[in-house]
Amino acid sequence: MERMVQTEDLVFEYAKRDEEGNVVGTQRAIDQVSLEVKEGQFIAILGHNGSGKSTLAKHINAILVPTEGTVWVGGRNTKDADELWNVRQSAGMVFQNPDNQIIGTVVEEDVGFGPENLGVPTDEIWKRVEESLQAVGMISYRHHSPNKLSGGQKQRVAIAGVIAMRPKCIVLDEPTAMLDPNGRKEVLRTVEKLRRQEKVTVILITHYMEEVIDADRVFVMDHGRVVMDGTPREIFSQVDMLKEYRLDVPQVTILADELRKRGLDIPAGILRKEELVDVLCRLK
């Protein structure tokens, strides 16, 4: 597998300024992060508020460039100004609040905005708009106004807008934080479909532990560093350590843990309800 994203000793410092705008100090948001994401992988990034997740995400499509160290996206160095547009085209980004990134007054125009800016010919734009809206299951809303949609629908339109630019990789920064349970399911199903059918590399940042159980790999961040790195099962079997990093485990895992503490013979790292049901039935 090809490398999609690679960071080497990545450091990012925000400048602290006084009221006149003079730099009075720096704050290190990312501290020596080296990681690798392969093409087609589903990566999840967990971490408390202020742990550096979003700052890291913004390096993947060159909204931010490293203070020290290097980030390569699809083999391109994000510091290379000549490659900026290629980097942004290969890595698309979806933010928490869909209202912040929907700009069109009609759904299909909004989705067409990205490819139009890339200079894609008109016929091709329409083709991409149609395909993208199909992929997120929003094609029947193509002539609707985005502000009449539900949160989950808006977020899917935002995702369509990103995939219309045909990125190889998509970074989702807490895409479900503002959504109701159904909206959350819609968005996750869409992301799942993109991975399976379009083979898009997915980097998902979230505070919902349940959303990452299918990830190929999970990174946990704290104080700008990657402090845990492993499969969901490896990560979620360390309940106490996750709690120290202000995180949590899926409710199934909490229940399994609680039952083990009360003396039932249950293995660590249970992630799915089917697993717990099976184990309990064997204890019958």
Partner: protein, 282 residues
């Protein structure tokens, strides 16, 4: 303060092409001191409903009574109502504006006309209630972490000493620890004082853990109004309207299907664990 809502209707943009009935014939009673959860899909009318409760939106028709007094009555003191019914909006930290945390929290009582000493006293008390330590009082609100900002903003409402506290998704976007901290503080506040709490949330797990009673909104109407156990027993109907039951409830149903006589009405991890131990424990 007890709340009674009778046949409340609200129509947006009445008489225009965009006319939409957001609330339909809502009848509810919330006794003094209750902890009520409100759930519903996006656009179900939750936020419209809670904005009626402190008079930010005036009903198209129907009445709302606090302690038996109709707030739409001619002589009703709406300003006083807003002092007593504190509303914490979504992302309340966007409303922080002062130079330091303490001044920001003083803003509410200052507008209520209290002296500077009294404002500070109330602000400090509120900051203590939300668990923001004194070392942050002089910090700029913008230097705080996401969870701390959120707590400072909630303190701003508490400093007005409301008798009813309404929170619209107070944990959206917070990390799990921040989420638990805020909800624990609210539960503590509810236990220590006689405040009525109305919590709007998209997290079924949180609502199940903290609310005495759940109101389910769907298409502008009250669909269910009962205990967590009874409401989440309708998990299939809830799914049809874009909601769900807490994960543990699903697990209990699965286990029951396999022939173990566990309580399918469990809605929290503790209830589920108790029931499983009863069946399997020795």
């Amino acid at each position: 303060m007890s709340i009674k809502i009778e046949h409340l209707n609200y129509i947006y943009s009445q008489g225009t092409a965009y006319e939409k009935q957001a609330l339909k014939d809502i009848c509810l009673e919330i006794p003094h001191g209750e902890f009520v959860g409100i759930i519903g899909h996006t656009g179900s009318g939750k936020s419209t409903l809670i904005q009626h409760l402190n008079g930010l939106i005036k009903a198209t028709d129907g009445i709302i009574c606090y302690n038996g007094e109709n707030i739409y009555g001619e002589r009703y003191n709406m300003k006083e109502l807003r002092n007593q019914v504190g509303l914490v909006f979504q992302y309340p930290e966007h409303q922080l504006f002062e130079v330091d945390v303490l001044s920001d929290v003083c803003f509410g009582p200052k507008n209520q006309g209290f002296s500077r000493e009294e404002c500070e006293k109330r602000a400090k008390e509120a900051l203590k209630l939300v668990g923001l330590k004194e070392k942050y009082h002089q910090s700029s609100p913008f230097e705080l972490s996401g969870g701390q900002k959120r707590r400072a903003a909630i303190a701003g409402v508490l400093a007005m000493r409301p008798k009813v506290l309404i929170l619209d998704e107070p944990t959206a976007g917070l990390d799990p620890k921040g989420r638990d901290e805020i909800l624990e503080q609210i539960a503590y506040l509810h236990k220590e004082t006689d405040i009525t709490v109305i919590l709007v949330s998209h997290s079924m797990e949180d609502i199940a853990k903290y609310a005495d009673r759940i109101i389910v909104m769907n298409q502008g109407q009250v669909m269910y109004n009962s205990t967590p156990k009874e409401v989440f027993a309708h998990y299939k109907e809830l799914e049809e309207v874009g909601l769900a039951a807490p994960q543990v409830t699903y697990i209990m149903h699965e286990i029951a299907k396999k022939g173990l006589a566990v309580d399918t009405g469990a809605t929290t991890v503790k209830e589920a664990a108790d029931s499983i131990m009863e069946v399997l424990g020795k």
